[in-house]
Symmetry: C2
Subunit: 304 residues, 2 copies
């Protein structure tokens, strides 16, 4: 079992879906990621919050065994995001973004974090992703990054540079098309692989996820849920299950990558069952294994 | 190997996609279905065309071994459909529909067709689907039907009656939601199963297809194609591969149904590579087996 470092955002989210709404609940890419990954391995978190950040949120992560030594408290208010979803639940409409202390986030890794062998660069400025990567004392065994439309549009050049240095990119389908400038998703995934990463993971919301690894595709559906409550954080939760399961096995090959795709989907399927991290907070390991078995059954094709 | 009877439409289609356009080419639900199924078993076709229907189109079906004895030629013009697709290729915009001789189509099965053991009721008026079913001398081993928004809206009551009498329904995702009155696709599929059919197949275009059989789900992705040329007929081609492979094995169980889902996806993935039935017309059986093997690889999850 190898340790896993994540650098990203911790936020307070306000979310409205057709099924309810919540105000200033725990959110952020690094939060979902680390809580999800904590079910698989030891996670070390680097992020920043403001002085207003509720202590019980930190406690939740500590209860999950996440090392929050790298969570700095800066003068000012915590990053806030608010968004709304319509009935199709596939895309959030951002209502408001207040970067607050996150605007000045310059991650400085403590010495003990600079040799962690698995690294996830969550969705932050690609220049910061590069800075973090260059602070590592030795090249991690696996580096993955996530990104979004905002950086694809506004930080194309540094994004290109960090893509050349990572092993895995996780990205949603619309953003994959945007990054590659190519409407066909298969061509888009191949074009992104040609930018550097050996492995491309395309997240497709209710349609599951696509893996392109070393030229070969693998497709995993989303878990057939009867009620999806709030999709916020599903992508980062997926990434947490994906990277967490790889770090736990400390082995990256065709088999572990495909199983990581399923673990990512399993974890995401829990997150969307409730607001914020509520479902992950009450999740038991045996539920993960049971749902993994359900996934195996969902895609199993016996030979004639 | 058991025979397969299909009753549906034969049409002349005019189609525009971002990649080209064609005028009055061979189309129709029963056409795509029977050509696709002909790679698996002996297909008998019941449909109607007008006096203007080109002989070479009939020849194409005969060359595929399809029994066209039930293809009647009526006074008047052949059914015409014209539609256009945007870049996402997921939904056709119908530009024009001319029912012509299809408006008076009242399928009367010749005696030798009334004991065919596998029956597909392609997308026609549910009252006609019922009439066909009631002309059978004995209950076929497997009856499937396809339907669409037009009948869901306008012929709800007869559609409900025929649904109670069939084993399988194939339907696209938007229409599944419409038929069930339920936005969640998992709940919608279960609701449709509660209307009668033991097996529900939901076609999701570029996202693949979903099988609900005896309460259990199976999901197959679409084949990752680098270029999709024209999605017209993909759903009927899918149904042809699905029913054809079942009739070929003459066995309907969990294993054959799941493999039928893959054969359906394989056949549909060829159809969309060209306009009309062009790709199916030049398809070789070894290409089907090769792509089936690609599908197995695309969803294969080894145990740790």
């Amino acid at each position: 079992m190898a340790e896993l470092l994540v650098v990203g955002s911790v936020a307070l989210d306000s979310v409205e879906t057709p099924f309810g709404q919540v105000q200033e609940v725990l959110g952020g890419s690094a939060t979902y990621f680390s809580c999800s990954a904590s079910f698989f391995t030891r996670v070390r978190l680097v992020a920043t919050v403001g002085q207003d950040f509720p202590k019980e949120h930190v406690q939740l992560l500590e209860d999950r065994g996440v090392d929050v030594g790298g969570l700095s408290v800066a003068a000012g208010r915590t990053f806030r995001w608010s968004g709304a979803y319509g009935y199709d639940l596939n895309e959030a409409r951002t209502l408001d973004t207040q970067l607050n202390v996150f605007a000045n986030f310059r991650p400085a890794l403590a010495e003990n974090l600079r040799r962690v062998p698995y690294l996830f660069l969550a969705n932050i400025d690609p220049e910061l992703q590069l800075e973090v990567l260059h602070q590592m004392r030795e090249r991690p065994r696996l580096v993955a990054l996530d990104t979004m439309n905002f950086w694809i549009q506004g930080k194309r050049e540094p994004l290109g540079r960090v893509l050349r240095e990572v092993d895995v990119v996780t990205i949603n389908d619309a953003e994959a098309r945007q990054l590659a400038g190519e409407p066909n998703l298969v061509k888009a995934a191949r074009a992104i692989a040609a930018m550097g990463p050996r492995t491309v993971v395309v997240k497709r919301g209710e349609y599951g996820a696509l893996l392109l690894d070393d030229g070969a595709f693998f497709v995993v559906p989303a878990y057939p849920l009867e009620s999806v409550f709030d999709p916020t954080g599903a992508g980062d939760t997926f990434a947490g299950g994906f990277m967490g399961s790889l770090a736990a096995r400390d082995r990256v090959d065709r088999g572990t990558l495909r199983r990581a795709m399923v673990y990512g989907s399993v974890m995401a399927s829990f997150t969307v069952e409730d607001f914020s991290l509520n479902r992950l907070a009450r999740l038991a390991p045996h539920e993960i294994e049971r749902r993994y078995a359900d996934f195996e059954d969902l895609i199993r094709l016996e030979r004639a």
